[in-house]
Symmetry: C2
Amino acid sequence: MAKSTQFRPTDGELEILNVLWQHGPATVREVYEKLSATKPVVYTTVLKLLQIMSEKDLVRRDERQRAHVYEACLPQSEMQRHLVTDLLDRAFEGSAKELVMQALSSQKASRGDLAEIRRMLDEYERGAK
Amino acid sequence: MAKSTQFRPTDGELEILNVLWQHGPATVREVYEKLSATKPVVYTTVLKLLQIMSEKDLVRRDERQRAHVYEACLPQSEMQRHLVTDLLDRAFEGSAKELVMQALSSQKASRGDLAEIRRMLDEYERGAK
DNA sequence: CACAAAGTACGAAAGTTTTCGTTGACATTA
DNA sequence: TAATGTCAACGAAAACTTTCGTACTTTGTG
């Protein structure tokens, strides 16, 4: 298995994780329904992916019911942290500053967001003092 | 070819791009030397990757010399922007705020960085007003 | 019980990425 | 000019991802 596959979900896997995070623990069918809403997918493809993710410990499976219930192993925020630090290392030479700058320049932060980010900075700075 | 392969370099490709950005236009051997410094690589693997990247228009090739000279098509910052927005869409539901928060919590910003980020915020806010 | 519906398991195929050996062209120098 | 070293080109193989068809199992219902 490649480089810590545990913290580097593929695109398809991440789509499924997004559903699980939003919805909470879900059956294959539930995930399938959610995904179908935005793009054409095949039920067994979703199933297969969830099975593979299970092997990789990306999700946990509860087999007590006939329709197994899947749940993300990591909370969304933790996975996000992994993904960000990974990107930081691979493309930003570890410079969080640069990454933040690029994130802001991508024009997706509202005024409210900016205010919150400022609050975060205050807090972070206090903590790091 | 998959989803805009142009703006989604693979890991191996990104490593090479990092060398090209730092070093400037370089021959295969130069890239190879740089990469060798940190991990074992095979010359022809680097060559092959550069050839593929050439086809994908991830790099430009100057063939005037026998040792072809390769150069990244996109400046580093632009590629970084693409990568961040991509991650934003795939894992953060487009919320730059969340991404910034995770980036900061990954403990890689110095006090100086934080100050610069504040400056950035000011500037960005002025622009977005 | 028999049948249909819904579920899991499995495997094959196609596409992508990564690796590396081999070949042939070109250059340098003894 | 012959030997040696450097280079690009090519192709094949391995690993991984993604997709989807098929088979088998379980459950519910007439």
